[in-house]
Symmetry: C2
Subunit: 182 residues, 2 copies
DNA sequence: TATTGTTATACTCTATAACTATA
DNA sequence: TATAGTTATAGAGTATAACAATA
């Protein structure tokens, strides 16, 4: 199985203004004082494990994602929330939690922050008085058009060593891994 | 890109004794009060992203890993450390940090715990008086023979929908994603 | 002067309990 | 009685600064 390898999925907290500049300079490899090279280690065993390779690949893409999405001040989870709202207008918090495996108490702050930024708005749910339907604001739609475009570009760059056919195969095989057997 | 989807990579903290029983019962889907079904959400856009699929696949395997490694009381990072030590006898903390992208201060506790359990021992480095070489104890070797066997089995189960050829292809494509372009 | 390993500590992320208001 | 959303808080994981011992 895998290990940590980058793990830190968040950029250092800075003021929104500061976040708009030099995104790549703020993304660290997380580890070591960037010092001299270390004698390399034999990782051949770990490389035989699907889990290890899947984790390394996903972290490599996430690292690229964080750099390229920094100008929009969107973390992975923010992008995921906005994207689900964009494609599921009126989605409830409950549904977002289920789809993203975020616990309800932890979604509250995310939603509140996106609402404060004017990217989403919450309207009374048409049939359930307890729930609120989440919608993108015009500003949120505008941002997501750009962000999804950036996500596509960044994915292409992060997987530039793959042919289109290979990328398609990779996605198909990954889905076979995480999709329940029926 | 991806999102959270399970994220929590640790089992609830319990006594070592309690950890030996009913491992699967202790692994939660993390989210929602396991309550009634929620109206499903359209995730078709996210599923077009390599990063999203890679993350979901890696988390699916990690979930299986946690369940099956619970009897050994090994988390992913513990297994990774022990595996690297097994295949690189005398490896230093510095090298482990570099290979696993764990910050030195955070490795200290991991190493100390494994040493307390009698799975590893640290000997003076032959040529560098500052460093310590990490080695498996006979007990650690014994555990890792079993743990690596379990890791292989669990990987096969977690990827049981793939043929041997597909699994090989998947690993090759994942490595193309995270391996630097030369 | 630089590096290994360490302590102390801050910050972020994830999880649990408990409450409210609606169903 | 059960569920959606919330608050408060505990706990795990990840980060930085600074230090002693050695190179």
């Amino acid at each position: 199985m895998a290990l940590n390898l980058l793990k830190k999925t968040a950029l250092p907290t800075k003021s929104p203004a500061a976040k708009l500049k030099s995104a790549s300079a703020r993304v660290r490899k997380v580890d070591l004082p960037e010092a001299g090279p270390v004698e390399p280690v034999d990782t051949s065993y770990l490389r035989t494990l699907v889990g290890y390779n899947a984790r390394r690949a996903s972290l490599a893409i996430i690292e690229t994602f964080m750099v390229r999405m920094a100008p929009y001040d969107l973390k992975v989870v923010d992008f995921s929330v906005l994207s689900l709202v964009a494609h599921n207008p009126g989605i409830t918090s409950r549904q977002l939690c289920a789809a993203l495996n975020v616990l309800p108490p932890n979604l509250v702050g995310l939603i509140a922050a996106l609402e404060r930024r004017g990217l989403i708005e919450r309207l009374p749910h048409p049939s359930d008085g307890r729930a609120m339907g989440v919608h993108l604001t015009p500003q949120g739609m505008e941002l997501m058009v750009q962000a999804e475009k950036t996500a596509f570009d960044l994915e292409m760059d992060a997987t530039s060593r793959l042919t289109d056919a290979e990328r398609k195969t990779l996605i198909r095989l990954l889905q076979k891994v995480y999709t329940p057997v029926d």
